[in-house]
Amino acid sequence: MATIVLDGLRKEYPGKPPVVALEHLDLTIDDGELVAFVGPSGCGKSTVLRCVAGLEKLTAGRVIIGDREVQELPPGKRDIAMVFQSYALYPHLTVYKNLAFPLKERHVPRARLDAEVRRVAEMLELTPLLRRRPGQLSGGQRQRVAMGRALVREPLAFLLDEPLSNLDAKLRTQMRTEIAAVHRRLGITSIYVTHDQVEAMTLGQRIVVMRDGRLQQVGRPADVYANPANLFVAGFLGTPSMNLLNGRVDRGVLTTGTLRLLVPGAPDADVVVGIRPESLTPVGSDDIGPCLEVVVSHVEALGNENLVHGSVEGTGPDKPMVLRALPTVNPGEGERLRARVEPAQVLVFDAATEERVTTSGPVLAADNRRAAG
């Protein structure tokens, strides 16, 4: 086990102009920590992993695993293990030989090799499958073999590149639990790359949100979710996405649609107001709290809740709105629904820089009725 330090990583691919896949990435991953890199396709998260693994040569920067600088070492000398999205199991070898391959390459004595393979097979419930070939296994079994091959030689660091993306939803949930359990048991420093925010939020002790080769925010999943640093992070995390409405701050008062809130210390500017769907509650016309009036377009019934889709007049074109509601709330198309806003959970972003606007105090409700009037 080891600490992983990524120091000023930069990766360019040749071209005119060169394509920058990674731009000055600094991060320290603590010993035994599981960090999840998340971001849309092409954001550079897999490039980070491949640079740490040694499958890509860095343009600049250092990778330190434990007490060694490894950026110049070939992948096999870095003492890391990797699980690929495609699993990359050797199709001509049995499960036993797949698991034994990394040990064989390191000339581990036969008796120890056999013991290690059987230990890992036992741990991942692969023992009955040892004589099968990858082509004779289901997706979940293949995934476990790939995990086993990575774990069998107890590496310093464990790299996982979207390991669950080829599984169906049910199996993905189960394997997620298994990966978390294995990490808890072995405590190997791990980097987990995924485009699935649920995986990142549930597995990562910290998550790293990336965009266009740049690190956007690092932190504990709950912190990043509750306090996104910029519009991108705010919009990327959460399903359904955060509602983003155009607004304006004038002398400490934020106005968007029919909603007026006090944002102490915020400079006068055009802003984007972020409200999570769960921060909106459908209320009756007699509610006097800060409210938005949503013109309903359609309702998605999920069984345990309804997602009410619509728009808010005066908040900018193409600004869809969605709120979580009880299954009993089922407004018709075109109906107007009042939704109360929790002021403390409203996030304000500068429309020009897309960065979070800092306020000197909590966001509070202004006189809503007067604004509506």
Partner: protein
């Protein structure tokens, strides 16, 4: 009300693995009426060759050909004793085996390099290599002859081996195979501690069976049946290959057809045996390469 279904298992049921799909028996159809005469047309020269090979000289001159009154097995022994047939067979076997092995080794490694290694000028080198496929052999016949002559290989088996040690087609075939292979396998091998050569030998080589078989079959066929280049490069009867040797049975004024057909049949026996042994592989190789 429908009965509740059994809870789905965690990993799902194992799929059935039919390694050998049973062949479907097709019923006779209109297609067969079209294909049967075609098959007969294709078979006619072969049958004619076999009939002529066991006929007397007089019987061989009849048209249309008729079945011989008695089978002339002596034609075969006459070929064997009257010409250095054994030498030709051995020469062809030596050339074919060496060329096939060298093609398997060199084309697969070169194909891997073109598919996976980034080196200066690799694109240009590959285009130049492909360009050689567009040039008919007749165009490069004389330059090749001059080069082989400068090596002192004229009238030696080396003249048949050296120019064929590696072929542009073989390199192209293997490169396409490697391009189709996911790079994850090699990367996993490198992370697991194998060197590049180790990855090639332990991971890629076992997967190369089908393209290597294709390459081996196509190379073998082209070398075994080659006539033009041996005709130019070899003079002495002892160094001739089978196809070249067959031409010596053909005189300027008179040809002993039964002897020639017997020799031809004998020359094709190894190919026929090989074909029957690996019929499916042969058809797949030729079909997949798009070459006849």
């Amino acid at each position: 009300m429908a009965a509740p279904s059994a809870p789905p298992s965690v990993v799902g049921p194992l799929p059935a693995f039919d390694l050998e799909t049973p062949r479907r028996r097709r019923r006779p159809s209109g297609w067969h009426l079209f294909l049967l005469p075609l098959a007969l047309v294709m078979l006619t020269p072969l049958v004619w060759m076999v009939i002529t090979a066991v006929s007397t000289t007089q019987e061989s001159r009849q048209f249309p050909p008729k079945l011989p009154t008695s089978i002339q097995w002596s034609n075969f022994s006459n070929v064997w004793t009257g010409s250095p047939f054994g030498h030709w067979l051995l020469n062809t076997a030596i050339v074919s085996v060496i060329v096939v092995i060298s093609n398997l080794v060199l084309c697969s490694t070169a194909g891997y390099a073109f598919a996976r290694l980034r080196f200066r000028g690799s694109g240009l080198a590959f285009i130049l290599l492909l360009a050689t496929l567009m040039v008919p052999f007749q165009v490069v016949l004389i330059p090749t002859l001059l080069i082989v002559k400068s090596f002192g290989l004229i009238d030696r088996l080396g003249a048949l081996i050296v120019p064929n040690l590696v072929t542009a087609f073989g390199v192209f075939l293997m490169r396409q195979f490697f391009l189709a292979l996911p790079p994850d396998l090699e990367e996993a091998g490198r992370i697991d501690g194998a060197s590049r050569l180790g990855v090639f030998r332990k991971i890629l080589l076992p997967l190369m069976g089908p393209p290597l078989a294709t390459l081996a079959i196509l190379t073998f066929l082209s070398i075994w049946n080659d006539f033009l280049w041996p005709l130019v490069a070899i003079q002495s009867p002892q160094n001739m290959t089978m196809q070249l040797g067959l031409s010596t049975f053909q005189g300027a004024h008179l040809t002993d057809w039964p002897l020639l057909m017997a020799a031809t049949l004998m020359s094709q026996l190894p190919v026929i045996v090989l074909f029957l042994a690996g019929q499916r592989m042969f058809v797949r190789s030729i079909a997949s390469s798009g070459i006849k």
